[in-house]
Symmetry: none
Amino acid sequence: MKDKREQILETSLKLFVERGFHNTPTSLIAKEAGVATGTLFHYFKTKEELINSLYLEIKDDMIAVLVNKIDTHDTIKAKLKQVFMNSVFWAFNKPFQQLFFMQYSHSPYIDQITKDQGMQRFSGILEIIEDGKKTEILKNISTALLFEMAQGFINGTIKYFRENQQKLKDQTELENAFSAFWDGIKG
Amino acid sequence: MKDKREQILETSLKLFVERGFHNTPTSLIAKEAGVATGTLFHYFKTKEELINSLYLEIKDDMIAVLVNKIDTHDTIKAKLKQVFMNSVFWAFNKPFQQLFFMQYSHSPYIDQITKDQGMQRFSGILEIIEDGKKTEILKNISTALLFEMAQGFINGTIKYFRENQQKLKDQTELENAFSAFWDGIKG
Amino acid sequence: MKDKREQILETSLKLFVERGFHNTPTSLIAKEAGVATGTLFHYFKTKEELINSLYLEIKDDMIAVLVNKIDTHDTIKAKLKQVFMNSVFWAFNKPFQQLFFMQYSHSPYIDQITKDQGMQRFSGILEIIEDGKKTEILKNISTALLFEMAQGFINGTIKYFRENQQKLKDQTELENAFSAFWDGIKG
Amino acid sequence: MKDKREQILETSLKLFVERGFHNTPTSLIAKEAGVATGTLFHYFKTKEELINSLYLEIKDDMIAVLVNKIDTHDTIKAKLKQVFMNSVFWAFNKPFQQLFFMQYSHSPYIDQITKDQGMQRFSGILEIIEDGKKTEILKNISTALLFEMAQGFINGTIKYFRENQQKLKDQTELENAFSAFWDGIKG
DNA sequence: TATGAATGAGCTTTCATTCAT
DNA sequence: AATGAATGAAAGCTCATTCAT
């Protein structure tokens, strides 16, 4: 049997995505999680604290997956391809988590402190981009811009594959997507 | 003096973006719009109908701007550059509208019918992409994927410039962003 | 084309019976009556005045029917039989009106003054009862009690026939009902 | 201190009778019952559920009183006299409950299912009537009609005594009323 | 830790009524 | 006489949060 805290996080993720934050009563979360309403507030002081905790836990999980199987000795291109593929892989393995970010990254429910903490975790990926620029493999564009373009591109790719899941069966289209991605950022 | 319906839409846009949908009482919308609470419901049967109407009106406005100054005789590249630049221009001219889409495009408050209606309005832009593919100027990737990649890329670009507004003063970085965009999708 | 005032009364009768007084918006009455909301308030200062007017108009109509075809020369029994039959006849000819009394005779929406005015109209029937007592044809019970017993009895009879309409086809059961009625009050 | 649920039922009975259903805010019920508004909705999902529950609880109480002190060995007449007297007794002991039925038995606020459930509880009394018919003590009229006539007659009697309470001091008039009742239904 | 009855502020929505036309 | 957009008080109901157990 799962830890109750864990159970609450898991349940609220699902409900926040399906129904929206304010349209998800804490009583419903408690019920679906199989705990008493009071228990939820034992683990999270407020509903706001709950969604912010959720945000950071998901961010941590995502980052861990994105940098998976990246070797220091890989080329910049290999590293970024791994990140690209890991991103798509994560989105499909953790669909609720991915939708959660789509919905709540820009929402006022997540406070700025939490967003900043989430951003810090991207440092590893930002380093890859900076390395790529130093060696002139990537375009000489500000790192932040390159990062946002890349992230937006990947989000678009994921959105497409979510709506056309059968296209993931063979790798062709995904490889094409990465080619376009790479053409865009390479120097 | 503005039309009351117009006033309600304008006010609710601002408030939904700043405070979130469920954290914005209809009473506050009415108050800020300078109308009685009953008046809001005279024009929009429910709060849900209000946000869906808002979504479509903003979508219409955006599309009109995106295809602005596009001439039939332009090259594909010129057309897509115009769309790219128009997108950034719109985002900066209509910041609330742009943030509204960021927050609510993926939210459950907008129903699927409304989202579909919104999507239909992109047909003009999809045609440009298809023309580009026919003449082998663009990559031979499915139109839907190209579209989503492009849209994601542009969203990222906008996000960057919103956080770094001074970088828009001269055109250099924006031109670089378009170059990257074009490199990504060209054949 | 009907008089608008008439139209409003007719429509509100139907709606008050089917939906209850407070669950029937004046806007709905206006709409169903085919007039503007303002028009309703032109004829009736308030919604309360509307239902009280309705009460009295229906009472008038009912009394007129109850004493119909009663001849001064008839026996007491013949007169009361006529009233009894007229009551059932009225209830079936004016079902909404009858239900209206069932629902609103005891309700606080009708003010006491109106109820008293309605009661006055029964004087003709009360006179028949008093005549019957004088000649010892009816039981020597206070007129008011005889009246209420009779009215209750008739209401019960009507309720039964409303729920068993086919039983009205031949007159047997209705005659039986009157026999019981007469046995109860005769001296 | 009373049970909160009980307190809410008791208070709403009084208020519904005095002010009407829709003219009685749930907030007022809660206030007079000494509970929070939320508590009312904790026990009754909607205001409609509240009034329907009330209807059934009162019906149960009434039936229990009506069949009180009836012995299997009593004659039909004795049994029905007991029911008649019990009815009057109940009406005077529970005046709000009696007025509640007068007002709401025919109202659209009580749904048909509830009304049917209420009717089922009369089976004991219907049996007495059927027994009476078998032994030819009562008129050979359909049971349902006899039942409705009787109920209407009793309601009228109660209405009279409510408006003329001093007449209850000695039993004479009440006995007369029962005589009339019995004359009406006896064979 | 865990419970869930109880709270009451606050929400969306309704609706009788007004009034300029 | 007739209209219907506009009003805003008030309604039913929700829900984050507390607290005695």
